[in-house]
């Protein structure tokens, strides 16, 4: 079971809700993915369009736990205010904390992230910070009170997969008791499986499913990949080797000659 701030989940796939072709395809994709946690955002509400009001019905239909984000925030102050608005609106202490440093890479501003996480944890929030594989920042975030970390695989929406696998492996080894979720940059189910094989507790993705030719089928594919990766981790992967070892027993090989064995 995936455990996040005392809550247990059978699915290890967290799903973003943006960029789907239609609300109905979003709903079907969430169902196909078996995700129990979905991310949402806050955006300015127009008195004329009232777009957010209609969205409530969809949230309820999804039947998943909501993880609100602070996407687009550029400072700790913006992120803290957005988190507070989200807590009131969604009725949850959870927040996917994002403080963005750069528009081209959408990489986290680790200084602002630690500052905001420190404030929010002290105010009772259960913070899931979108971070990098940087170990120093991770230590600060855990020290601030985060019991979940969400390092990126690659920049948001790039679909490049685990671009610093060694860094992610180190983070996993260094924090065996912290829930680690790979968030952002996954493009293929194989990327998700790779993250899970490293021992990550879960993955969070959006674009790879939402922008797929068939989002519902892709949701199913990611669901299976996450499950396969987790099973492989639990089963214990064999170590890679440089040289071949025959898998078929050598003893009793027909026509065997001793010089073949040298």
């Amino acid at each position: 079971m995936l455990k996040l701030y005392g809550a247990s989940f059978s699915s290890r796939l967290l799903l973003g809700t943006a960029q789907y072709p239609s609300p109905d395809i979003l709903r079907q994709a969430v169902e196909a993915s078996r995700a129990e946690i979905v991310t949402m955002s806050l955006r300015r509400e127009s008195a004329r369009a009232r777009a957010g009001q209609g969205f409530w019905e969809l949230i309820e239909q999804l039947g998943a736990r909501v993880l609100p984000n602070t996407a687009g925030c550029r400072t700790a102050k913006e992120a803290v205010a957005t988190a507070k608005m989200a807590r009131e609106l969604f009725g949850t202490p959870w927040v996917k904390l994002e403080v963005i440093a750069n528009d081209d890479t959408l990489q986290p501003d680790l200084f602002g992230l630690v500052e905001a996480a420190t404030i929010l944890c002290a105010e009772g929030f259960e913070v899931l910070p979108y971070t990098t594989e940087d170990l120093g920042a991770a230590e600060r975030l855990v020290g601030a009170g985060c019991s979940v970390l969400m390092p990126w695989a690659a920049p948001i929406g790039t679909a490049r997969g685990l671009i610093n696998k060694d860094g992610l492996r180190t983070l996993r080894a260094y924090f065996p008791d912290v829930a680690l979720i790979v968030d952002a940059g996954l493009g293929a189910p194989s990327h998700a499986a790779e993250a899970m094989e490293l021992g990550y507790d879960a993955v969070l993705l959006n674009t790879a499913i939402a922008k797929a030719g068939d989002p519902i089928k892709m949701a199913r594919a990611f669901s299976r990949a996450v499950e396969a990766g987790r099973l492989a981790f639990e089963a214990g992967l064999i170590e890679p080797r440089d040289m071949a070892i025959p898998s078929t027993p050598v003893a009793g090989t027909p026509f065997f000659k001793i010089d073949h064995a040298s």
Binding site: M40, L42, R43, A47, R50, Q53, F55, P68, K77, N206
Partner: protein, 65 residues
């Protein structure tokens, strides 16, 4: 007076944040608010006076990644 509502200048006669939301037809809507970068809880809107040039944010839930 002139204020900034969601980044756009508007004229309003509302004295407080609660009146502003009601005047926009959002009194009973699922929204959250902030003034000048600081969160204002729903139950504090009626005691939160508006001043000229205040920057008001009114937000609602939306899709997100």
């Amino acid at each position: 007076m002139q204020i900034l509502l969601n980044g756009e200048p508007i004229a309003t006669e509302a004295r407080d944040l609660d009146e502003l939301c009601a005047g926009l037809g959002l009194g009973d809507a699922r929204i959250a608010t902030a003034i000048n970068g600081n969160f204002v809880a729903a139950d504090r809107r009626c005691e939160t006076k508006l001043a000229p040039a205040d920057a008001v944010e009114i937000v609602a839930p939306r899709q997100g990644g």
